[in-house]
C-alpha cells in the first residue's frame, strides 16, 4: 500500500502546525500586552499545586531513594549513616521477600485479564440506554464506593468455615460441597483474596471501559448494521479496535493497582497462612512501620517502584500503536 508521493505534487500545507494568530506567536510574545502579568498570575496559580507535589511526591521519592542506602530509623537518637547496599543484600537473601514477589506475580497474572474482562462485559451490558440503566450503573459501582477495608472485613466474615460463602456453595450443590476455611489454608487464601479484589474493583474499570465505549461513533455501528454483521462481528471489528487507547489505560491501572496489593492482606490475613499471601508492600509496611526500619522499608519500596516501572514499560511497548 506504500504510495510514493510524486515530488512535483504541491504539498498540502499542514494546518495543524500553522502559526497561531500573530499575538500568540512565540517570537513576539514578549511584546504582547499583559505578557508579564500573565506570567506572574500564571505561575501564581500553578505554584500551590506545584509546591505541594514537590513537597509530598518528588521530595519523598528522592528521599526514599537516598534513605534506602542508609540505616535511618523512624525515631532514633543515632545520626543517619550511609551503609551502601547493605539493605539490598539483606533483602535479596530474604526468602520472605521472594515469597512476596511470587504472591504478587500470581495475584497480578490472574487479576489483570479476569478483572479487565469482567469490567468490559459489565460496561457492554450498560453501554446502551435502556429503562433502568442508571440503576444498574449505580449497583455495579456500589462495591467501588465501599472501602477496601470494609470489603475485606465483610468478606473475612463471609469466608469463615461456617460463613456465608460456604453456606451458599452447600445450598446450590444440595449439600455436596463443603467449602474450606478459605483464608486459613495456604492453597485457598490467595484465590479468596483475588475473588474479593475483583468484586470490589471491577466497577471502577467498568467506568473507564464505558468512557471508551461512549467515544466510539454511533455511525460505525449503524454502518455495520447495514452490512448485516452479527453481534460478535460488530464487537470484533468495531468495538474492539475502537477501544485501543482505553485498553492500555485499563491494563496499566489494573496492573499498578494489583502490584500494590496491601489493604486486603493487612485486614484479612496479615500475610499468612505461612506467608502464602504476603506482598511486597505488606513487607515494606511491616518492616518500616512495625519495626521502624525506615531504611529497609525504603529499599523494599525502591525495588517495588522499579518493578512497577519495568512492568508498565513492557506493557507500553506491547500495546504501542503499530503502523
Amino acid at each position: 500500500m506504500a504510495t510514493v508521493p510524486l515530488p512535483t505534487r504541491p504539498r498540502v500545507p499542514d494546518t495543524s502546525k500553522a502559526a497561531p494568530p500573530p499575538s500568540y506567536a512565540k517570537g513576539n510574545a514578549r511584546r504582547r500586552p499583559g505578557f508579564r502579568r500573565e506570567q506572574f498570575s500564571g505561575w501564581g496559580m500553578i505554584a500551590p499545586a506545584a509546591v505541594l507535589l514537590l513537597a509530598f511526591v518528588f521530595i519523598p521519592a528522592i528521599l526514599g531513594f537516598g534513605l534506602a542506602f542508609t540505616n535511618a530509623r523512624l525515631i532514633s537518637p543515632r545520626p543517619i549513616e550511609f551503609v551502601g547496599t547493605d539493605n539490598f543484600s539483606r533483602l535479596f537473601t530474604d526468602p520472605t521477600f521472594y515469597r512476596a514477589l511470587l504472591n504478587v506475580a500470581y495475584f497480578t497474572v490472574v487479576i489483570v485479564p479476569v478483572q479487565s474482562g469482567l469490567a468490559l462485559v459489565m460496561a457492554l451490558l450498560i453501554n446502551k440506554k435502556f429503562r433502568g440503566v442508571n440503576f444498574f450503573r449505580t449497583v455495579y459501582f456500589l462495591p467501588v464506593v465501599t472501602s477496601m477495608v470494609v470489603v475485606s472485613l465483610l468478606w473475612l466474615f463471609m469466608y469463615r468455615k461456617d460463613g456465608l460463602i460456604n453456606e451458599i456453595l452447600s445450598n446450590v450443590s444440595f449439600g455436596l460441597i463443603h467449602g474450606p476455611d478459605w483464608l486459613g489454608e495456604p492453597n485457598t487464601a490467595m484465590p479468596a483474596i483475588i475473588i474479593l479484589s475483583i468484586w470490589q474493583a471491577a466497577g471502577f474499570h467498568m467506568i473507564i471501559w464505558l468512557a471508551g465505549l461512549q467515544g466510539i461513533s454511533g455511525e460505525l455501528y449503524e454502518a455495520s448494521q447495514l452490512d448485516g454483521t452479527s453481534r460478535w462481528q460488530q464487537f470484533r471489528y468495531v468495538t474492539w479496535p475502537g477501544l485501543f487507547h482505553t485498553r492500555s489505560l485499563v491494563l496499566v491501572t489494573i496492573t499498578i493497582q494489583a502490584l500494590g496489593l496491601f489493604d486486603q492482606i493487612s485486614v484479612m490475613t496479615q500475610g499468612g497462612p505461612m506467608d502464602s499471601t504476603t506482598t511486597i508492600v505488606y513487607e515494606a509496611v511491616r518492616s518500616g512501620y512495625r519495626q521502624q526500619e525506615t531504611s529497609y522499608a525504603s529499599a523494599i519500596s525502591l525495588v517495588f517502584f522499579v518493578l512497577v516501572l519495568i512492568v508498565s514499560a513492557v506493557q507500553r511497548h506491547l500495546t504501542r500503536e503499530k503502523d
Partner: protein, 292 residues
C-alpha cells in the same frame, strides 16, 4: 425474527440482573446483618433469610458500637478531614489546570509533564519515606500571642490532609475539561477588563461542574477510605479516622453484628453521597479525558 430479538434482549437482561445480584449481595448481607443479634446472623446464614431483615430486628448493634468505639468522634474526624481535602483539592488543582490549559505561561509544558510523571509513582512506594519526611517538617502553632515552632507532623490533622491536596489525576481531569471550553470566552472577558483570576472564578469554573463532581468524588473516596496512612501517622485516639476504628472490634470477644453495624455506619454516608452525585460523575468520566 422479532421473537428471536425479544429472547436475546431477555437474555441480556438476565445477565445484567445476575451481575447486579453478585455486586449487591455482600452489601445487602452487611446491612441486614447489622440489624440482627449474632446468634440469628449465624442461624439465618443457611437460608435466604440472610438477606432479609426478618426475625429479631433492632438497632442494638449500633448502640453497642457507640459504647465500644468513640464512633461519633471518628466520623467527625473523617468528615472534617475528607471535606477539607476535597475543598482545597478542588481549588488548588483546578487553579493549576487553569493556568496550564488556558494561559500562555512559559515553561508550562515541562511543569505539566512533571505533574503527569507523578502518576506512575504508586502511593505505597512513597508512604514510608513520607512518614520519615513529615516527621522532620516544622509545625507552627499559635499559642496565645507567641508563635511556637515544633518539629514533626506525626499525630496531627494536617498530616492527614496536606499531602493529599495536590493530585496529578485531578489536574489532568480539569485540564482535559478546560480544553473543551472555548477560549473565546476568556478573550471576551479580558476585553471586558476581567483579570485572570476573575476569568477562572466567573467564566471557567462555573462551566466545569461535571469535572468538579468527578474530582470531588475521586478525592473524597480515598480520603474517607484511607487506612494505610493514618495507621502509620496517627497515635492519639481523638485524631483517628473511621477506618482505624475497625481495630477496636477484634480486641476482645468479636461480635459480628457490631462489626457489621460499624461497617454499615461508615459505608452508608459514602453511598448516599455517591448516589447524589452519580449522574454527573458517570457522565463526566464518560465524556472527559479518560479516553486517553
Amino acid at each position: 425474527m422479532k421473537n428471536q430479538l425479544l429472547l436475546k434482549n431477555a437474555g441480556t437482561m438476565l445477565v445484567r440482573v445476575l451481575f447486579a445480584v453478585v455486586a449487591a449481595f455482600p452489601i445487602v448481607f452487611m446491612l441486614v446483618s447489622s440489624l440482627k443479634p449474632d446468634q440469628q446472623i449465624f442461624g439465618d446464614m443457611s437460608s435466604f433469610a440472610a438477606f432479609l431483615p426478618v426475625g429479631n430486628i433492632s438497632f442494638d448493634n449500633y448502640a453497642a458500637v457507640f459504647d465500644r468505639v468513640p464512633a461519633a468522634r471518628f466520623l467527625l474526624n473523617s468528615v472534617g478531614v475528607s471535606t477539607v481535602t476535597v475543598i482545597l483539592g478542588i481549588f488548588v488543582n483546578s487553579l493549576c489546570a487553569f493556568a496550564l490549559s488556558r494561559m500562555q505561561v512559559r515553561g508550562k509544558k515541562i511543569v505539566f509533564t512533571a505533574i503527569l510523571a507523578t502518576l506512575i509513582v504508586p502511593f505505597q512506594t512513597l508512604a514510608l519515606p513520607l512518614v520519615w519526611w513529615v516527621n522532620q517538617l516544622p509545625y507552627f502553632e499559635l499559642n496565645g500571642f507567641s508563635l511556637e515552632i515544633s518539629k514533626g507532623w506525626l499525630d496531627t490533622y494536617q498530616v492527614q490532609i496536606v499531602p493529599f491536596i495536590a493530585n496529578a489525576f485531578s489536574i489532568y481531569l480539569y485540564h482535559q475539561y478546560f480544553e473543551s471550553i472555548p477560549k473565546e470566552l476568556d478573550e471576551a472577558a479580558r476585553i471586558d477588563g476581567a483579570g485572570w483570576f476573575k476569568i477562572y472564578r466567573r467564566v471557567v469554573m462555573p462551566l466545569a461542574g461535571p469535572a468538579t463532581a468527578t474530582v470531588a468524588i475521586l478525592t473524597f473516596l480515598p480520603a474517607w477510605n484511607s487506612y494505610l496512612w493514618p495507621l502509620m501517622v496517627i497515635q492519639s485516639e481523638e485524631l483517628r479516622p473511621v477506618m482505624i476504628g475497625i481495630q477496636y472490634f477484634f480486641q476482645l470477644n468479636v461480635s459480628w453484628g457490631e462489626v457489621m453495624a460499624y461497617a454499615s455506619l461508615i459505608t452508608v454516608p459514602v453511598v448516599v453521597l455517591f448516589i447524589a452525585f452519580q449522574r454527573s460523575f458517570v457522565n463526566s468520566i464518560a465524556s472527559s479525558g479518560v479516553k486517553g
